[in-house]
Symmetry: C2
């Protein structure tokens, strides 16, 4: 996988969840079509009357997710920017997504504004394999944020974390080591280590 593949999975699923934060600081989410993906850029649109549009214009932070039929979750976090050349983009989007004409016939399409997400990070989280598998990629100039847990040199090698890990993704060593690509971030090892050798990242 890479960032581009992840965005292409979102385009293939097409109807994906877009989350924003409203003016009261509360989460908002709705299903929106992914209209195009080119390289490391995902395109969508929304109409100027919607709360979603206002939230994007005020803030621009957006989190996108969807699940494939094979239980692979893609999560994209980034910034959405409104595109210049509105009419050209909307015409192009309608050409590639003709069913949009059913909802916005004729000239009414121009109440829509095109947006692109081309900077952020994307995660591919495969729940359809054992152990689970996850991988993150920067999108555009974005950065990948490290999450989950890590075992420090304070580890005394007792093995309690390994025995209790639901995904069996800790390996012996000095110190013991979490295989991050298979970790659920559940926190069980963190809670159970007798010497607090496991740190939250």
């Amino acid at each position: 996988m890479n960032a581009r593949n992840c965005l292409e999975v979102l385009r293939k699923i097409k109807d994906v969840a877009f989350a924003t934060v409203d003016e009261a600081g509360k989460p908002q989410v709705r299903i929106i079509d992914v209209m195009l993906v080119e390289g490391e850029c995902l395109y969508f649109c929304t109409s100027r009357g919607k709360d979603f549009y206002q939230q994007l214009e005020r803030d621009g932070n957006v989190a996108v997710t969807a699940l494939t039929p094979e239980f692979q979750m893609v999560r994209l976090n980034g910034r959405a920017r409104r595109l210049e050349n509105q009419k050209e983009w909307i015409d192009r989007i309608f050409e590639e997504n003709p069913s949009m004409n059913d909802v916005y016939p004729g000239e009414s399409r121009y109440v829509l504004e095109p947006f692109a997400i081309d900077c952020g990070e994307v995660e591919f989280f495969d729940l359809g394999v054992t152990p689970i598998s996850r991988e993150s990629f920067p999108v555009g100039g974005g950065e990948v944020s490290e999450k989950g847990f890590v075992i420090s040199d304070a580890c005394i090698g007792c093995g309690k974390c390994l025995r209790g890990c639901p995904q069996q993704c800790i390996e012996e060593g000095t110190p013991f080591r979490i295989m991050q690509e298979h970790c659920l971030h559940c926190g069980r090892c963190f809670e159970e280590c007798p010497v607090q050798a496991i740190l939250r990242r």
Copy 2:
């Protein structure tokens, strides 16, 4: 439809998007299983190590959405509260959702905490019919927030809004009237009314 039916649609889809706000005020979203629905209450769980858990404990505001195969979008906005009797609830959830044992075998299930959403509002938005159709319901003691646009007495009856409405959901009268149950909230009428008779709610 009613609130209960909407929650049952989410339970049937099962893998739905849950959005929260993180400590930096940014949106976060992931796919989570709806574990149970009883009356006007939706149950889910997450593990104590996850960012999602931290966000729920700090704030509790959550927005949930999913799309049916018939293009009906359900959106639930409410507050999630963590349940007492953690072990009982987790055992019950695992009984009703046995595939959870694949991810959290044995005792590791108790790193999960049960949550309920039983206060908020839910919207049913049907994109599979023409014109589109929407309806909102309070959940528990929640309140429905009015959105979209409304035509005021300043309307001069010119008919421009009606001619331009992509869903043809404005009817003549004094003043003209938006059929809210069929409105996209696109804002085209609002932008085009020559006398600014249309107000944002």
